[in-house]
């Protein structure tokens, strides 16, 4: 373990309300040099955590957005054959065509490995990719090295990146994969926590609006028939919309007139259900 790096301790960030438990887990994962797997409802700030850590520790953040068709090699490096072909034809570049290495570009994981300082590598929504991707990636993250076949070279990490992996839990991750990560499940915030979160995003928010919006929000989340319940992300956007509307009055919200339902409920059946139930609030 690198002593110097251990001194960096994650404690807070400007746009993120951190609970102590999570901070502790992040710090432990960092010192154990193990990836941290975060699960939780969409919109509860899994991705935001990585940004918060990067900001707090002043480390560069590298984000790998996993796509369903992604292969591991796409995340490691890319061999730019076309540029090489072009250079060999026209010969007007400064690159040496016979040196393949000049045509290897690092992709996200590769970048994190060769960076000159310790980075944070966020692997976002890993559950989107198939299990092959996950299992292959496991080896790379475990060994902290990978081979570039084209130039027969092994890339080793200079500084072990802090790895944050998020999953929406649509699919189960494989057991060996889980075995090599630390795990945390971000539960949906309690109202008190939520007030803090809103306040962090809107420091100038009035107490009335804060109370009314958070209360209404939790009321709306109680609709059982709704397929996708609004999460923190939706609440933040909704409050932003309320504040941007010059005609909006907090009193109306307390009375049960809820504007901009479309920000909270994004599926049309959900929206219909919400509208119907909201009309009952007014009685």
């Amino acid at each position: 373990m690198n002593v110097e790096e251990d001194k960096k301790i994650f404690s807070e960030a400007s746009q993120y309300v951190l609970d102590k438990e999570l901070a502790k887990i992040v710090n432990i994962s960092m010192s154990l040099e193990m990836p941290l797997l975060l699960k939780g409802e969409p919109g509860t700030g899994k991705t935001m955590l990585a940004y918060a850590i990067a900001e707090s520790l002043k480390m560069p953040l590298i984000v790998l957005n996993v796509k369903s068709s992604m292969k591991l090699i796409d995340a490691l490096y890319q061999y730019d054959t076309l540029t090489r072909l072009n250079d060999s034809r026209f010969g007007d570049s400064t690159r040496n065509v016979s040196n393949i290495e000049e045509y290897i570009k690092m992709a996200k994981i590769g970048q994190a490995f060769v960076a000159n300082e310790r980075t944070i590598l966020l692997i976002d929504e890993i559950d989107k990719a198939d299990t092959d991707f996950q299992d292959d990636m496991l080896d790379v993250l475990d060994q902290m090295e990978f081979d570039i076949l084209e130039i027969d070279k092994t890339i080793k990490t200079k500084h072990r990146p802090v790895i944050i992996i998020t999953s929406n839990a649509k699919k189960d991750l494989s057991d060996p994969f889980l075995g090599r990560c630390n795990f945390h499940h971000i539960a949906f915030p309690e109202p008190d926590m939520m007030r803090e979160i809103v306040q962090v995003h809107f420091p100038s928010i009035s107490q009335d609006l804060l109370e009314a919006s958070v209360n209404t929000f939790y009321r709306l989340r109680n609709f059982n028939e709704v397929e996708k319940k609004p999460a923190t992300r939706e609440l933040i956007n909704w409050v932003r919309a309320l504040r941007a509307d010059p005609d909006f009055k907090v009193k109306e919200l307390i009375k049960g007139n809820i504007p901009y339902l479309g920000i909270l409920f994004k599926k049309s059946p959900d929206y219909a259900v919400a509208q119907k139930s909201v009309s009952r609030f007014r009685l």
Binding site: M1, E21, K24, I25, N27, I28, S29, S31, L32, M34, L36, L37, K39, T81, L82, L85, N86, R89, D130, T131, K170, K171, D172, S174, L178, G179, C181, N182, F183, H184, H185
Partner: protein
């Protein structure tokens, strides 16, 4: 250190691996953990890999570090009942969530021993059968222990409401979750059905074909010619027809559910239909088989390369399949025996299969299974069976 803690976790059914335990030791020896709170948080992050086990972990932690007894000293029987109850209660996180839904604050504070105590107290106080009401163990009612009551996730205590049966029911539930005989998980299913893919070029020509580009460039005497191709997409069409009627399919609901979920999430082009026992004139797009009929004759319009998978136990009275008016539903009077319909389907879709949740060694004893097997290749819903089916469906001829 804490070896006993580790084994207690394993004992109650939390899957903890030795590797992760060693990692925890590493964290301990690295001076990262300085208080019980630290230990709690780190141990959970390192040892527990799914939120499903968080609560179980909490209980074991409380037992180990706060000295809370897991078993009741009243007697061996009761202690055993308590343990089993606890396990069962905890192995079903949904139950906890549901139970919490009723009385969130107090139940989340209720430690395992409190719950057990509550349970045991009720058992002791109770001297006669009791159904309904808010306190006693029995059927109906709102007490969190008992069965078919208002607490949907409460502990089920079998019909007689004596501790023996509580053990039995609790044990049943607990072992069903972890045994080898448990239904295939979606993960397993995914592994087996991965082969069901048909990659075909699709979409705009936006992917450079490097080999072809180099070849054409050489042909041109070094003048670069870029060759683009369509990228490969999975375009496999699948029709899933599921027997969802009657009692005979009830034991297989779990397994069908995971098959269905998996298919829904994995296959891009999937149609699901339902039928009861066997297929007559109509398949139904709605599970109630009432409002969305789909004529079997019209299936000829569908691409014959579609993979047609029928899921059902293929067990029924022989006349249902042989007779011209075989359907047990009075409104399904077609004049064509189901046998003919099935033959029609298997000739329309050359890639078809019948998945049977019944174990293969039981097949020869049911006459209708034998009849259907002559029409459709039949496969078991096991890892092996699914794998064979995938191979069969993807074979060229």
């Amino acid at each position: 250190m804490f070896t006993e803690f580790f084994y207690t976790l394993r004992q109650v059914g939390v899957p903890v691996s030795p590797t992760s335990f060693l990692t925890l030791q590493k964290a301990l020896s690295g001076g990262l953990i300085n208080s019980v709170d630290d230990f709690y948080i780190s141990a959970r992050a390192i040892l527990i890999k799914s939120e499903r086990y968080f609560d179980l972990f909490d209980q074991v932690f409380a037992h180990y570090f706060k000295g809370i007894e897991l078993a009741d000293p009243a007697g061996v029987d009761l202690a055993e009942a308590a343990r089993a109850l606890l396990d069962s209660w905890l192995s079903d996180p949904q139950a906890i969530a549901n139970a919490l839904g009723v009385d969130e604050e107090s139940l989340s504070k209720m430690s395992p021993e409190e719950l057990i105590e509550y349970f045991l107290e009720r058992l002791k106080e109770q001297t006669e059968a009791h159904h309904g009401g808010g306190k006693w163990i029995g059927t109906g009612g709102t007490s969190p222990v008992g069965h078919s009551g208002y607490h949907p996730g409460g502990m089920r205590v079998g019909g007689r409401s004596r501790n023996k049966s509580a053990v039995k029911v609790a044990m049943d539930r607990r072992y069903r979750d972890y045994s080898q005989q448990a239904p295939l998980t979606r993960h397993h299913m995914g592994e087996a059905l991965k082969r069901l893919r048909n990659m075909v070029p699709f979409g705009p020509k936006d992917k450079v074909d490097v080999d072809e580009t180099i070849y054409r460039t050489m042909k041109n005497g070094g003048e670069i010619e870029l060759i683009f191709n369509r990228s490969l997409r999975d375009k496999l069409k699948i029709i899933l027809a599921i027997d969802n009627g009657g009692w005979s399919m009830d034991p297989y609901i779990d397994i069908l559910q995971s098959l269905f979920d998996y298919s829904r999430s994995q296959f891009k082009d999937l149609k699901v239909y339902f039928f009861h026992n066997t297929i007559y004139d109509y398949l139904w797009a709605d599970p109630q088989r009432r409002s969305k009929p789909h004529s079997v004759d019209e299936l000829v319009k569908i691409d014959p390369e579609t993979r047609f998978i029928i899921v059902g136990d293929a067990s029924m009275a022989p006349y249902e399949i042989m007779a011209t008016d075989g359907s047990i539903h009075i409104e399904e009077r077609s004049g064509k025996p189901s046998l003919e319909r099935l033959r029609f389907l298997s000739s329309t879709f050359r890639h078809s299969a019948w998945l049977n949740p019944k174990p293969a060694d039981e097949w020869p004893y049911t006459r209708t299974v034998n009849v259907i097997r002559q029409i459709f290749p039949m496969f078991e819903i096991t890892l092996d069976g699914l794998d064979k089916m995938a191979t069969h469906l993807m074979s060229k001829n």
